[in-house]
């Protein structure tokens, strides 16, 4: 009967091997590297303790990167969720038209970020872009969307919101549909008006979904890379440089591996906090069912 004992291990081993080799071990290696000074080429890695971290947090550029990442995340997540919630309540109806609308707003989610970035670069072009034509139509002046430090980060957030709304709306709709109908019937019998019903019933019942989307949104926004790499390369004047782009540049352009790893570890800690928070609250159940 030994074969029966070995079999489960045999079955999980390919997957576990992949995970250990490409996810678990790299995390450990990154933590190790974050405490060393290494330029990728030299055979020696010098142990420097926490020096990379202390240097990092006292550096103006990194502080800016942190700020950019936080502002970008706050903008993207809050606006996406608010707009998606409104759309979900509105579009949560059956019928071909609503099915089509849901499909339409979802479609950007499955398109490559490369294409989305380029499409929006074109739409946001200062001279020939459609967005400025639209503004001019209403008598508003053209905006240098991606080429001015004061608007560049917001422009990137707009792209992320446009891409993310469909996904968020559909999840909200799924959440709305899981709310039992009889609760609304009871509220209607009590003569509760629509807005009150929404605030007192729908919103609390949606809180697990709301919470889930917030956390997922935060985790995703912290990793933003593609749009920056294609649309702005972190500029102008470092105004759109965020975490992952910063790690990428330090690792691959300046070969400061220890430095980049330390930034990676900080990102790991931030993402872990949100992940743990998510699981903690999931276990406690945000709302009674």
């Amino acid at each position: 009967m030994t074969w029966n004992k070995i079999r489960p291990y045999l079955m999980i081993s390919p997957a576990i091997l992949v995970f250990s080799l490409f996810f678990i071990y790299p995390i450990c290696y990154m933590i190790y590297l974050s405490m060393h000074d290494w330029n990728f080429v030299s055979p020696e890695k010098n142990f420097v303790g926490t020096a990379n971290f202390t240097n990092l947090v006292s550096e103006k550029e990194f502080i800016e990167v942190m700020q950019n990442t936080f502002v970008y995340t706050a903008l993207t997540v809050s606006l996406t969720i608010i707009i998606a919630l409104i759309l979900a309540v509105w579009l949560n109806k059956s019928g071909t038209i609503y099915g089509f609308v849901q499909g339409a707003i979802f479609s950007p989610h499955i398109i490559s970020l490369v294409s989305i970035s380029m499409l929006w670069m074109w739409l946001m072009d200062t001279d020939y872009g459609l967005l400025n034509w639209f503004l001019n139509l209403f008598g508003l002046p053209s905006v240098p969307w991606l080429t001015d430090p004061s608007t560049s980060l917001l422009s990137l957030a707009i792209v992320a919101i446009w891409k993310g709304i469909g996904f968020n709306t559909l999840i909200f709709i799924a959440g709305l549909q899981s709310i039992p109908r009889d609760i609304y019937e009871a509220a209607a019998l009590d003569g509760t008006n629509r807005i009150r019903t929404f605030i007192k019933l729908t919103l609390p019942m949606l809180s697990p979904t709301l919470f889930f989307l917030t956390i997922i949104g935060i985790i995703n926004s912290f990793q933003v890379f593609e749009t920056i790499s294609i649309m702005t390369q972190g500029g102008p004047i470092n105004s759109t440089n965020t975490f992952v782009y910063y790690i990428y540049e330090y690792g691959f352009r300046f070969f400061k591996i220890g430095y980049a790893s330390a930034a990676g570890v900080i990102l790991l800690v931030i993402i872990s906090i949100f992940t743990i928070m998510y699981f903690r609250l999931l276990a406690r159940r945000v709302h009674y069912q």
Binding site: M11, I24, I27, I110, A174
Partner: protein
């Protein structure tokens, strides 16, 4: 529910606006891809091209080794898909159906992996591949995604729902464990497998970040990188060529989306209801 005529009208206009916001950029992409260079440089913009400039597509295609990119993209996405199926099906079955020592530990390991994004670990993985001499090969694009924690998680859920008696009946019918997986579990989990397959294929077809990090030469690069490179043509950005190039990347996905909209939406929304 309000069904008065002004309400209906307002609702209809609202829907039109929403759909335009999401669909119009794509329409604009298509329109631009058929324009001449001159037509992209007028303001206010021309809505439709005077004539259809099909040569934009050949220009985009010939601006680099696009056949290689295309082949690489197909090869990488399909290889990942096949390897993922090969690794997640047995693992999900073991996690769902067997009691063994370390069961919980290994599943926790899988769940941790689910939480680690590629953007976090690219640097150490890059160094690892560099040490193995596998940088700038298709291996570096495929191997890290040869299994999927998300896939195991999804499939385990669906394997768990199969009643134990069904497996016992099959065992009494003389079926081996592999046969049970092949003939009973996989057919039952078919919708989930299709869902996951679509998710995986689209994700890796679209992926820009990982190939950007792991490859440096044209022989190993994939379509998204090739498209991104179109920006770097001399003498400023040629939007009509760029948009034509992006159509090559987007059209296959949009066609798949058109035919399997429901499954695809389910595939991506699944990630939200886990």
């Amino acid at each position: 529910m309000n069904t008065t005529i002004p309400y209906k009208l307002l609702n209809g206009i609202g829907i039109l606006i929403v759909v335009s916001i999401f669909a119009f950029p794509f329409v604009w992409m298509i329109s631009t891809s058929f324009k001449s260079l001159g037509e992209t440089m007028i303001f206010p913009p021309a809505w439709l091209p005077e004539s259809l400039h099909w040569e934009n597509f050949t220009a985009a295609w010939n601006s680099g080794p696009f056949l290689t990119y295309f082949k690489n993209s197909i090869f990488v996405s399909i290889s990942i898909l096949i390897l993922q199926f090969l690794t997640i099906i047995p693992a999900a079955y073991a996690f769902a159906r067997y009691q063994f020592k370390g069961n919980k530990f290994f599943f926790a390991l899988t769940m941790i992996t689910l939480m680690i994004p590629a953007q976090l670990i690219f640097l150490p993985v890059y160094l690892q591949f560099s040490a193995w001499g596998l940088l700038d090969t298709l291996w570096a694009l495929i191997l890290p995604f040869a299994s999927s924690a998300f896939g195991i998680f999804l499939l385990r859920q669906s394997f768990k729902q199969v009643p134990e008696e069904l497996l016992e009946a099959a065992r009494l019918d003389g079926a081996s464990e592999w046969k049970i997986i092949l003939k009973i579990m996989i057919p039952i989990a078919k919708p989930v497998l299709i869902t996951f397959g679509l998710f995986s294929f689209i994700t890796h077809w679209n992926d820009y970040f990982w190939p950007l990090v792991m490859t440096t030469s044209d022989v190993t690069r994939t379509l998204p990188l090739g498209i991104a490179k179109l920006r770097e043509v001399e003498g400023g950005v040629a939007w009509h060529i760029l948009m034509a190039g992006n159509m090559i990347l987007v059209i296959p996905i949009l066609i798949v989306f058109f035919f399997a909209q429901r499954q695809i939406i389910r595939a991506f929304v699944y990630t939200g209801i886990k």
